[in-house]
Symmetry: C2
Subunit: 340 residues, 2 copies
């Protein structure tokens, strides 16, 4: 099969890789209908995360089940499926509490690499959710977002306790931040402030339900959020970047007793304990337990209640994955869908 | 009046201070029946916090109202009252959400200094809770703990979401940690692990409801908590120290999706973002909004359902405040009650 591989920062190649096989009786093999490039793929691409190449890339996927191991019960060949970027058994105590990304048997799909024509899905019964039937072509991008960016933005909004009567601010205008706006709207937030300096992303934020846009960053951004909230700060802030500046912007934009949901993969962040103590804000985040939300998200997309696929502003053949990375790295694309 | 004053690290004196007066119509003046030395008083005493002496000391108090300002409605001269270590209006949006220690008009009682015969209580209607009548002498120590250490331990347990079916670990065996054990018991926790190396404190932890004791600290302490919880970590961990080691011990002792409630005043702590991200634990803490819990705590004490006053293992006249500080600094006393 063909699949994307990183050799070094900036060096993505699509090449022949061995077809995956069933390794455990709980595995499934899927033929990927669509996959994509994630903001978190840019960390190794930019060399901010160590690259031990050649290594397969990609952890987002939708596709059709080709084969299943002997113990797989919930999905069958021919099913169209969506899965999380972490494989999980969905039965352990941590999964049952709703934290499937930290399943005691979790396997990161990024190590398998779903920017490829085929992919092995470990713990298929726990990981995959089948759609009610074969989706119309226009639903594919939306369903693909459920695999990570929508589920992650949703988790950020849930972690920030977005809901009725709340003012929610979103730090970060990448796909995850934009979909956190969509999630906050679905969760019933009263006011949703998207923090973005880019006209195209501001427009999409409005479309997804943002009521206000704040273009300022850092201390100025915090001051604007305070102005919008009687000096108190937002009830809920979603952090969808992962840097020191964005984390502190999130913490400082939140009122005492409010909630920060952080889903940007943390890089080089050190949170000052004393400031955090006196800020008195709830902090929660990490790799999103997308599997918890998948049934609900698939349902919303299937029934055309939400259209998160709008975050894809570029579609390329898998063979052109390198170009997709380049466009996202240079912020010339919000999110790139790849067709194997 | 007589009152304790800090001049420099290690230098506490009891001396004549001016009697307080009504400064605002919302003030009350109380005659303190009892006050005490807090673990947080030791930070300046040890010079870890800057001392700009001479400065009055103390922020815990129970007493009898002597005079009230013209706008005070809820308490009257002769009432026996308990109040929080932060004065709060209890009417602003932050107070109404339950975060009175971050009231938009909050005033720290430590700046006023309650280790004294009299104290001015700002925002008396919002800050003070009157008991149903004059308490029996044996209730005074318990009521005094409600002013801070009990309320703080309680908040830690609430922030850690201690409750039925939960395993709760408590890092720190000072008065706050011990009372977090009591709080976890009252909140219905199934298993309560006190982390303590001192036999007397272990005994008190057992008396307050601890089911297990872990004497190990740091990585060894974390390993013991994991052993006790099928390798997962505790559902709820209360941090009641405030150092880097204790914070990391708390974070690492918590299972994914679990809750850390941190109430030790943070000193020199920097939380590593990447570890926190992948730990996927809820973090919440800060100065306890004691006022939220006061009516319930006063009721529990008044009706002899709990006996938090057991944390006092030494009682001294206010004149001997310096000795009280010394004993706590040298860990020869858990908590010292002072009689003005």
């Amino acid at each position: 099969m063909r699949g994307a591989v990183i050799y070094a920062p900036g060096d993505i190649r699509v090449e022949d890789r061995p077809d995956p096989t069933i390794l455990a009786p709980t595995d499934a093999i899927i033929r990927t209908t669509a996959t994509c490039v994630c903001g978190s793929d840019l960390w190794p691409y930019r060399g901010i995360e160590n690259v031990r190449g050649p290594a397969p890339m990609g952890h987002e996927y939708v596709g059709v089940v080709e084969r299943v191991g002997s113990e797989v019960r919930n999905v069958a060949p021919g099913d169209f499926v969506v899965g999380s970027f972490f494989a999980s058994d969905n039965t352990c105590e941590i999964c049952r509490a709703g934290y499937q990304s930290r399943c005691v048997n979790a396997e990161p799909m990024g190590a398998i690499g779903t920017q490829a024509q085929l992919a092995r899905i470990p713990l298929a019964d726990g990981t995959l959710v089948a759609t009610p039937g074969m989706p119309d072509a226009d639903l594919i991008p939306g369903l693909l977002t459920a695999s990570d960016v929508l589920g992650t933005g949703w988790f950020g909004a849930v972690a920030a306790e977005a809901g009725p009567g709340k003012t929610v601010a979103v730090v970060g205008d990448g796909a995850v931040g934009l979909l956190a706006v969509l999630a906050a709207r679905q969760l019933g937030a009263e006011r949703i402030v998207a923090m973005s300096r880019h006209a195209d992303r501001q427009a999409l934020a409005h479309e997804f339900g943002a009521t206000d846009i704040v273009a300022e960053r850092g201390d100025d951004g915090v001051a604007r959020i305070k102005e919008l909230t009687d000096g108190l700060g937002a009830h809920s802030v979603v952090e969808a970047v992962g840097t020191q500046e964005s984390m502190m912007q999130a913490v400082r934009s939140t009122r005492p007793g409010g909630h920060v949901g952080y889903v940007g993969v943390s890089h080089g962040v050190a949170l000052p304990g004393e400031e955090l103590f006196f800020a008195e804000v709830h902090l929660f985040g990490g790799p999103a337990p997308v599997r918890r939300f998948l049934p609900e998200l698939v349902d919303l997309i299937w029934n055309r209640k939400i259209d998160p696929g709008r975050v894809f502003d570029l579609e390329l053949p898998l063979e052109d994955a390198a170009e997709g990375y380049r466009r996202m790295d240079e912020r010339r694309a919000v999110k790139v869908l790849l067709r194997p």
